[in-house]
Subunit: 655 residues, 2 copies
């Protein structure tokens, strides 16, 4: 009672503020605004405004090719830094490229090709200064499993290769289209939790695949799920090669030790960056000297000398394989985009510059389209390589050019050196890189903050490990979407209470010291009112009112006279929602309870007005704040005793 007394004298119904209907807007204007917010939220054309045509041309060129923006101010000091970082990432790119190409069941030299042309394209078109371009394990695995379902890489290597190029082409087309059509936000639908689970699952799968190399097995399952792989490994225990396993675990130990060391002392980042190349050199020397290739240690073998051959004519656009290529392209393209853009954004935030997601997508797309025509497969900006690039002190995308030149020299002169490189070393390199993706700490963090995100993460992981990479992804995205839909379908409703000595009303569960107002039930609806929840809300509001009346009846104090709906958090309403409010109004009238609205937002107010609901409920029963609504109810309760009011509202009902 106390707070009601407090509220009462401080306002009166006359002076209270009115909830306003926003000034009417022409339909086309509001449509234009909404389309702009949906597709151009970053306002990319802002800088073009009020510029002469020649300037517009230069700006446009700089927009598509950021190199024209930063190249003029490039200095020798930048070059020094970029040279060092470029050489460092080249030494990482060569062994990683070969390893991932093997993972994709493609000729190892493709890994080198893919570290030559795409980085050059990105250096011209990309806007990140820290991204290092290259192939990634997850996309390689996906290529192997999705194209492998259609064509066997061992039986028909040519067709398999051409399909990989075609998939890369479609990935590029898809990426560039997303960027051009301003649909970059589709990537946002892969939530943080999905990506953590998915990446960890993919890493697990990739590590399991390496058992083939480490155990020196000749035959291996084409499936990627845990059960098939384990069955394949343990059904041929007699084929295990101890020489291979010893080498593998030895190098893995070496790689992990150097990584641990570099992590502890970031100044020595180059130790872990150089470790893979060192392993390759050591491994090759060892095999060459001991002739281990004749004792069951498999080696890379002949690598073709020379730069990327053209592959445009190899693209396959004929019917039975086209669908596979497009499907593989789209899925790998999205995954690659998600990783590349997240990596670019993180480093940009670190160094405080801006990355335009849609522009980056065009750059990635162009890079993969050009790549698919020059014997490369899918590339993006892998996290590990970019981190090394960043730690090595890169300043601009020139470090990518330096890396490309390093790979070029390798391709032209050094490929014979890899003849004796044992496959098991490549497996060790992959395993050591993948262990970093098993981010169990992030999963624990998700559990502690948001259980639902943890479930999403876990389903993505389990889906990838026990079914397949695509299924895991689909499950995780589906669960995430269901969560969004559930938020709308089952909106939260709260009872509000008065915070002592104020006109503020808040959720009684969050603020236990609030007090209720006798005869008045205040409900907050915390989501837009749409068709998907209008049925639920009708039931829920009725239940709140039932419960309140029961409570009041048992206490015998007073009867329920007013229900105030706080609409502040109702961002929008559709015709089903308005229908629901009309029903609630009718039901309340019949029960002799007055329905009052507080703080409807512009959009809702506009629609309620058009649907004549404001007339129906009465303008004076829509208030600007809950406090004023309560004050008005309180004023009426004190001025007219409950009973006549009930009759009044019944009379109203008959009109």
């Amino acid at each position: 009672m106390g707070n009601a007394d407090y509220v009462y004298p401080s306002t009166n119904v006359e002076r209270a503020h009115r909830a306003a209907i926003p000034p009417p807007q022409p339909f086309l204007k509001s449509l234009k605004y909404n389309l702009k917010e949906t597709f151009f939220p970053d306002d990319p054309l802002k800088q073009f405004k009020n510029q002469p045509t020649s300037r517009k041309f230069v700006l446009g060129l700089q927009y598509l090719f950021p190199i024209f923006e930063w190249a003029p101010s490039y200095t020798f000091n930048f070059l020094k830094s970029d040279f060092i970082s470029g050489i460092t990432i080249a030494s990482l790119a060569i062994p990683q490229g070969i390893s991932y190409a093997k993972l994709a069941n493609l000729p190892p030299v493709l890994g080198l090709y893919s570290s030559f042309i795409p980085p050059l394209v990105y250096a011209m078109m990309g806007s990140s200064r820290d991204l290092a371009v290259g192939t990634v394990a997850v996309a390689s695995l996906l290529t192997a499993s999705m194209i492998g379902n259609e064509v066997d890489a061992n039986q028909n290597p040519r067709l398999y290769l051409h399909l990989a190029f075609t998939a890369t082409f479609f990935a590029g087309v898809f990426q560039a289209s997303l960027g051009l059509l301003r649909l970059g936000f589709i990537v946002d639908f892969l939530s943080h939790a999905t990506i953590i689970g998915f990446m960890a699952g993919a890493a697990t799968v990739v590590i399991m695949q390496q058992l083939k190399g480490i155990l020196g097995l000749d035959h291996f399952t084409h499936s990627t799920d845990l059960v098939s792989v384990m069955r394949s490994v343990f059904s041929q225990t007699h084929q295990w090669r101890w020489e291979s396993a010893v080498l593998g675990f030895g190098f893995l130990f070496f790689l992990l030790t150097t990584r641990y060391f570099s992590k502890r002392k970031p100044k020595y980042f180059w130790v872990s960056a150089m470790a893979p190349l060192t392993s390759v050199i050591l491994g090759s020397l060892l095999v060459y000297l001991t002739h281990a290739e004749k004792h069951g240690v498999q080696v890379i073998g002949y690598l073709k000398k020379g730069l990327n051959p053209m592959s445009f004519t190899d693209l396959v656009f004929v019917s039975p394989y086209l669908t596979t290529a497009i499907k593989t392209g789209i899925i790998t393209g999205v995954i690659a985009l998600a990783e590349g853009i997240a990596v670019g954004r993180s480093f940009a935030m670190f160094k405080n510059y801006h990355i335009d997601g849609n522009k980056e997508m065009i750059a990635f797309g162009a890079m993969n389209i050009v790549g698919s025509c020059t014997s490369c497969y899918l590339t993006t900006g892998p996290f590990s390589r970019s981190a090394v690039n960043f730690n090595a002190g890169c300043k601009t995308a020139v470090s990518n050019i330096v890396m490309a030149l390093g790979v070029m020299v390798t391709l032209l002169f050094l490929t014979p050196l890899f003849h004796y490189t044992p496959l098991v070393v490549l497996s060790s390199i992959i395993v050591s890189a993948m262990l970093g993706l098993l981010d169990y700490e992030a999963a624990i963090h998700l559990w502690s903050i948001d259980k639902f995100d943890f479930i999403v993460c876990l389903s993505a992981y389990a889906g990838v490990v026990f079914a397949s990479v695509e299924i895991g992804l689909v499950i995780a995205v589906a669960i995430s979407l269901i969560r969004l839909l559930l938020f709308v379908a089952r909106p939260k409703t709260f009872i509000l209470g008065n915070i002592p000595n104020s006109m503020i009303y808040r959720n009684v569960e969050q603020y236990p010291n609030t007090s209720s107002v006798p005869g008045v039930l205040i409900l907050e609806i915390a989501a837009p009112i749409y068709f998907a929840n209008s049925g639920y809300l009708r039931e829920r509001i009725a239940r709140w009112v039932d419960d309140e009346e029961e409570k009041l009846k048992s206490s015998g104090e007073t009867t329920l006279q007013y229900v105030i709906l706080d609409m502040g958090a109702v961002g929008n309403i559709d015709t089903s929602g308005i229908g629901m409010l009309e029903e609630v109004k009718k039901v309340m009238d019949r029960r002799g309870v007055k329905l009052v609205l507080a703080n409807p937002v512009a959009e809702v107010m506009k629609k309620l007005d058009k649907a004549k609901f404001i007339e129906n409920i009465g303008q004076q029963w829509i208030h600007l704040t809950v406090g004023e609504a309560v004050a008005a109810c309180d004023f009426m309760l004190h001025t007219f005793p409950p009973n006549p009011l009930k009759e009044d509202s019944e009379a109203y009902n008959k009109v």
Copy 2:
């Protein structure tokens, strides 16, 4: 400036309220609460609480069979009313039943069977007092087109018939399962707008199909889309029968006139209710006397005498047809549910009693399962028949029993009378019923209130008319869902301003008389912060801040010192959203702008606390209301001049 001065003396930072973290809840308790709200929002077990076992049994029986609830208090007066309304709807049910069975390409007698058993089941299990059970045109058409795709009704009528029973069986199983699994809310996903467009589209398609009967054509397309039907009609103009057309339009005119009359004078509801049966009798007499059946007027022909034969053994559960039956069952089942439940609810609201959606679904499901075993096809509660029932003054479901008895008498003794009934009369009956479903006024209403709902409605209509019933439905549901997702993916953000002489802050577009606070930017985010929008919100907040800084720079007055985010409408947040807030905080720190939060709700506050974001931002920068947040900022601005503060926040950044 004025309002800032006004706000400043009225509060100080010490006295302001704190935003509270809600008391911690055990995980299992909150999980249980959420599950209950999702699946048991109507708390169906409430009445069972604290009752002895015998009472619980009675209540359970009454829950499943509401007839036990109302039968004991049934009076003779009720019977009089129910008898009149039952006879009225029987006279409507007989010709409509035969017509719709023809529409479904099923033997006409099935329409009578379906008006005998299912109404009896519903009378025991249903909770609506006004619903009249029967077959509906849309579901009949869907059955014809979906099963017709698999089996030709003319070439293999037996299999077609059995598949129709099987589809009805699965529709019933699906409906009952939805009810038992408490998934009734799935029906809510068919929005009001979808249903209007869909119904109008289906009515158009059904009317087009009647051209066959009215023009007396022998051959007709199996497709339902506008283009195919028009091509079929105009490719055989030489086959048109003028006798048939004259009869058809004559009866159509008669039916529409009686309907118009009854609509103007509701007391004479029976005029339009009796009109179809009158048409059938008149038409049959005419044909019998003129022998028109020998001059191109097609008649129903032989109708088998006797009650429903059992059909349980006819259900087809074998492989090639099972999928079709299940698909047809699910789609027709959902459509039938949507209509039946909406109809039940509308009349219940009129008479002020309660309908439990999930319970109704179980009743509909049982009715169709029993129906499928007794030679009936899909039934529900059609709007037209229920409206006649209501107008005729029905009191309880006994009117359904009276109707069933009327149909039974017809089946036992009167079927030979329908031998000479011309098909064209049935077509006229269908067309006249369907014209009422073309609710163009509702579509105009949608356009004036909510453009998006209008688009949904129009796409459903166009999809049904130009493609197929299923495609129209899928398109409309997909667009509706995209709207929900867009609401979350592109949340509204507003600038808030101070309402004069108050501490209230509201959207400046809705309340143009608000004034801004110098040096402080107040933003409201009007949706939950989820992965799907965190990228967008990061960009959008940055753009608001850019715009504000530019505006301040050009006016040269002051610099931006504070950004207050009003989180009152942010119903929830996930880990991606928290990550976004952390990024915004970092960026703001770097720009020397302080981030302040106002009014986070319980759920958000809890998660921000767990993620240590509250520590990060500082408890003193999270306020209960925007007003208090502004007062605190204002206090700081007056106490410390801007410059030291900027350095301070930069120093903060380095920590």
